[in-house]
């Protein structure tokens, strides 16, 4: 699978990470849908699906976000006992060296997963399998948490880039004015 990706026109920067990102999401969805065809065991289905969703959450938050798009978010409690949310991004230089295809894959898979889970949740409600709503609930909570975290990272990154740009423009203008007046 990795070899066929490398043969495409523009390659993935980190094919293994891309693979794992998509793997857990896809296998969670596939397992949830297909397992009930073979074995009628809610417990196994629940545990395995929730485990895959949790693995996906961890992978996306700690590995894919860092490596594919250079973003990271977490929460800390500081000494005053307050909750501090940290949103980080690599700076502009390194951000531009990141692979565009990686980023495309990352964002698309991030946004499509909760849509798929909501659809499955609607199916579960229609089929009156309300137990399965627990699974869908857990999957939704985790994927929405990741979406919120990374979207905030991206917004912060854009804000910082704008601030930086305005700062450099201001300093450039100041230096030109200075040189103009000194001459």
């Amino acid at each position: 699978m990795v070899i066929s990706w490398q043969a495409e026109g523009e390659q993935y920067g980190h094919p293994a990470v891309c693979f794992f990102t998509v793997l857990f999401k896809f296998s969670a969805l596939a397992f949830y849908v297909l397992f009930s065809i073979f074995v009628q065991s809610f417990v196994i289905q629940f545990v395995v699906t929730v485990l895959l969703v949790a693995l996906d959450f961890w992978t996306v938050k700690n590995v894919s976000g860092r490596i594919l798009v250079g973003l990271r978010w977490w929460n800390e409690v500081n000494d005053q006992g307050e909750s501090v949310w940290h949103y980080e991004s690599l700076d502009q230089q390194t951000l531009e060296t990141l692979n565009k295809k990686d980023a495309w894959l990352f964002w698309w898979s991030l946004y499509l997963t909760p849509v798929a889970w909501v659809a499955l949740g609607i199916v579960a409600v229609i089929k009156f399998n309300l137990d399965y709503l627990l699974v869908v609930g857990v999957a939704l909570v985790l994927s929405i948490a990741n979406i919120i975290g990374f979207t905030k990272c991206r917004k912060d990154a854009k804000k910082q880039i704008q601030q930086f740009a305005s700062q450099t423009v201001a300093s450039h203008m100041a230096s030109t004015l200075q040189s103009a007046f000194s001459v």
């Binding site: 490398q6 390659q11 293994a16 629940f46 980080e88 690599l90 700076d91 910082q160 601030q163 930086f164």
Partner: protein
């Protein structure tokens, strides 16, 4: 195709290496500025040597970490810098934090931009996957040790966890639900779903209870603590599988219940004002007693 690919990668790699070395050079003297000022001028040569040694050490660390990250499963080829034991916000690059007070979501505070553009490499943004995994696992183990086990080095038993995380509670709840449904004879899936829903909703409701009573604890922190205090009941559920005599099971459940309550009492009682202590601690005990009954009732 492959030949086109490798030069691109190597130049990017070289760039990142260069930036990394620049970062280490730029950061080291800044860190050592304070002791240098306080130190007698004669000692300056030793201080000047130290950054160089530190830089070498860091580069060695990089090489060590590079070789360890060549594990094919991990994948990332980004070079690595030394990982601090905790992710502290004093990076050389941009990070913005919004401050939320413990009383549940105040408006965002100022976004502090720290040294944007002074260095592209973050300590925790470029560590290998193995380091992240190890760090998270150690965090769970430490939290468990701090909350549940009697620990003479614990600074203040009433103080909620600083490094809270939800992985521990997640696994404990799943484990409890699994253990109870495994030993159930009828309708296993129902038991599992009920236990899981009860525990998770119960933890959320208990946290809301503490907050509504005027407590000063962060929502996720309290969830994490309540989840960790479930660990003794997990142990009790396992031990109960050994023998199915009623007396034995009652004893085990009673012991694990006492342990859970002992672990949960300090932080719940210190989180609320003293007049409301009983109101906060009673539902917690009730939840654990309910789970204890579930463990006892399975045969």
């Amino acid at each position: 195709m492959l030949s086109e690919r490798t030069p691109l990668q190597s130049t990017a790699q070289a760039d990142i290496d260069e930036i990394e070395s620049l970062f280490s050079i730029s950061v080291q003297p800044a860190r050592l500025e304070v002791p240098a000022a306080a130190v007698v001028p004669e000692r300056k040569p030793s201080v000047a040597l130290a950054p160089e040694r530190k830089q070498q050490q860091q580069q060695q660390q990089q090489y060590v970490n590079k070789s360890s990250s060549s594990n094919p499963q991990q994948g990332p080829s980004i070079p690595v810098s030394y990982v601090p034991p905790r992710p502290t916000p004093d990076y050389g690059s941009s990070s913005s934090s919004s401050y939320i007070t413990g009383a549940g979501g105040g408006g965002g505070g100022p976004a502090a931009v720290v040294g944007f553009g002074s260095g592209p490499v973050y300590n925790t943004l470029t560590e290998p996957v193995w380091e992240t995994l190890k760090r998270d696992v150690m965090r769970v183990v430490n939290n468990l040790r701090n909350v549940v086990f009697p620990n003479p080095y614990r600074e203040d038993p009433g103080k909620p966890l600083r490094d809270w995380d939800l992985w521990g509670p997640f696994f404990f709840i799943i484990f409890m639900a699994l253990a109870l449904s495994y030993s159930a004879t009828t309708d296993r899936s129902k038991v599992f779903a009920v236990v899981f829903a009860t525990l998770s909703v119960g933890a959320i409701v208990l946290t809301l209870n503490v907050q509504l009573l005027g407590g000063t604890i962060i929502f996720l922190q309290s969830l994490s603590l309540l989840g960790y205090c479930l660990f003794p009941l997990d142990v009790g559920a396992i031990v109960c599988l050994a023998n199915s005599s009623k007396l034995y099971r009652s004893l085990v459940v009673l012991l694990s219940l006492a342990w859970s309550s002992w672990a949960a009492y300090p932080f719940v009682s210190t989180a609320v004002p003293s007049s409301r202590k009983a109101l906060a601690i009673y539902p917690v005990l009730l939840l654990y007693i309910a789970v204890g009954f579930l463990v006892l009732a399975n045969n």
